[in-house]
Symmetry: C2
Subunit: 313 residues, 2 copies
């Protein structure tokens, strides 16, 4: 037996939960669970170990460089999941013929990202996932947000404490297309624009130029972010469009659900995951002093992208 002193700290970036922390964690998880149930979501889970192959399919994102990957003793390439959504898509794909849609599922999932640690950000965390699969209508987005807002309320966070900023990626696409940026460049443009505020605008321009966008389009894409009203966007697009109509439908559904006061339209909300296709949203405390409280969006192509029958989600 080795007798050199052993560190009693958890591995760097990992967390221990002593009973006092654990009781708080249980209260949090219990609140999430109850809110999910109240809104009709069923629980699911999977092992934290996933095949690297599945996680790699979502290439081109920062997150794919942050995966804890390893091989098992038979040489299988495995990884600790960085998020739950690819696993959810895999599980649904495996039983696509027998599940009843639309389905509403939730999970409280431990996820791992090997990244630079900042305040409040370790290399593993638990996240609450709420997903509706197989529903076209914006009622899906509204239900997910209403369930999240209900949990926040139980935890003491009401309309005076935070706002949910939303956008529609399809609207950004319409605007980019108007600037002459081809659809095949949109995904990369979204990921670059998502970095605003995290890296200097000059670097973002560089990213976009490297993607092959003409200089003029690059600066126009960044200028878009200064637009603050839907009216201004409508003027630019020359009238109502499918994406604008979807936003209006979403606002109406939110009004009916009593969550409209929490929502703010914000064209600069892009989200860092490449699979989002429609409405995307991010909740922040009113003063924006902290990191996002929660976020999400519609990902209508993910099931098709992993080789399953396409299905809205």
């Amino acid at each position: 037996m080795d007798n050199t002193p052993l560190s009693f700290a958890p591995p760097r970036g990992m967390r221990d939960f002593y009973p006092e922390d654990m009781l708080f964690r249980e209260h949090l998880f219990e609140t999430w669970k109850m809110s999910a149930r109240r809104f009709g979501f069923l629980p699911y889970d999977a092992c934290v170990v996933e095949s690297l192959d599945l996680l790699r399919r979502k290439a081109g994102e920062e997150i794919s460089e942050q995966i804890y990957a390893f091989a098992d003793k038979s040489g299988r390439e495995l990884a600790l999941r960085a998020e739950m959504t690819p696993t959810l898509a895999r599980m649904i794909a495996a039983r696509q013929g027998s599940l009843r849609f639309p389905l509403k599922w939730y999970a409280i999932a431990q996820c791992f990202r090997y990244e630079r640690m900042t305040r409040g950000r370790k290399r593993e965390h638990y996240q609450w996932n709420l997903d509706i699969v197989g529903a076209q209508s914006v009622l899906a987005e509204t239900e997910v947000i209403a369930a999240a807002a209900s949990a926040m309320k139980e935890l003491g966070l009401g309309p005076g404490d935070y706002r949910i900023r939303f956008n529609n990626r399809a609207l950004l696409s319409e605007l980019l297309e108007k600037l002459g940026i081809q659809p095949q460049h949109h995904a990369a443009t979204f990921l670059a624009l998502d970095k605003r505020g995290k890296i200097p605008d000059g670097e973002i321009e560089e990213l976009l130029r490297r993607e092959g966008l003409p200089s003029e389009a690059v600066s126009s894409a960044l200028e878009l972010m200064a637009i603050t009203t839907l009216q201004e966007i409508e003027n630019r697009l020359g009238g109502q469009t499918p994406a604008l109509r979807r936003i209006r439908d979403f606002q109406q559904a939110a009004e009916a659900c009593g969550i409209i006061d929490l929502l703010i339209f914000d064209l600069s909300v892009v989200r860092g995951l490449s699979y989002y296709t429609g409405i995307v949203f991010e909740a922040f405390d009113i003063e924006r002093k902290f990191r996002a409280i929660f976020g999400g969006g519609r990902y209508d192509n993910l099931l098709g992208d992993i080789g399953a029958r396409p299905m809205t989600a």
Copy 2:
């Protein structure tokens, strides 16, 4: 993006929980939690990723060859935990000066073992851990077993369904010493004897001979396993001994707790983990058709072994 077909199955040995399985899992976990609370155990948890160094300290066991180990991007040697006890010992060691003892903690922990898969045995599983640290008395063992029995009862398993076989490793030590086997060989002898029924006796004898035991002692050690009564052991040892007295105390405490009917003394119960020092136990269905339902034991040296202040557990 790669377009070859992707498997929708979980990685080999891992499990998905669809809502119908998840609702059963939640019922099981909830029952464990309630029983733990009823007996005064507090919850704790830690990340499934541990430092390989900690897990390696318990060398010499099969389990240490079954660890999923990998390096992070900074070259840190990490592993998915194979059991919770080393992590518990590390967490207690880190706050040994400020925690109040004896402490009673529980965890529902996901654990990983890379091993050959058999029916009902995958490469990851959840286990319920109940631990009492800092108590000398056999009341600790009794309380742990009573809490486990209480959960079994809630789940529909009563005294007609299963038995808990127990032994005292210290008693085995006394018997081995009587056979002239030196204390430094006892740990290896325990691990070899624990393999009875899993590998042929001939192979166990080979293991013991390789450990350096004289041939005569090897066959005597195996013969010990035929003893079935405490009286016979007392005769062999020439009267009451500390280990026999501890067993009697344990039986008295079990009588007082109302769990005596579940208990059967069985000298062949050894347990496969090297850190056990005293009473060890294993619960099986009456007909012994299935794998053990639960098991455990006293590990008085573990905290000392990892470099912390020694403390009974």
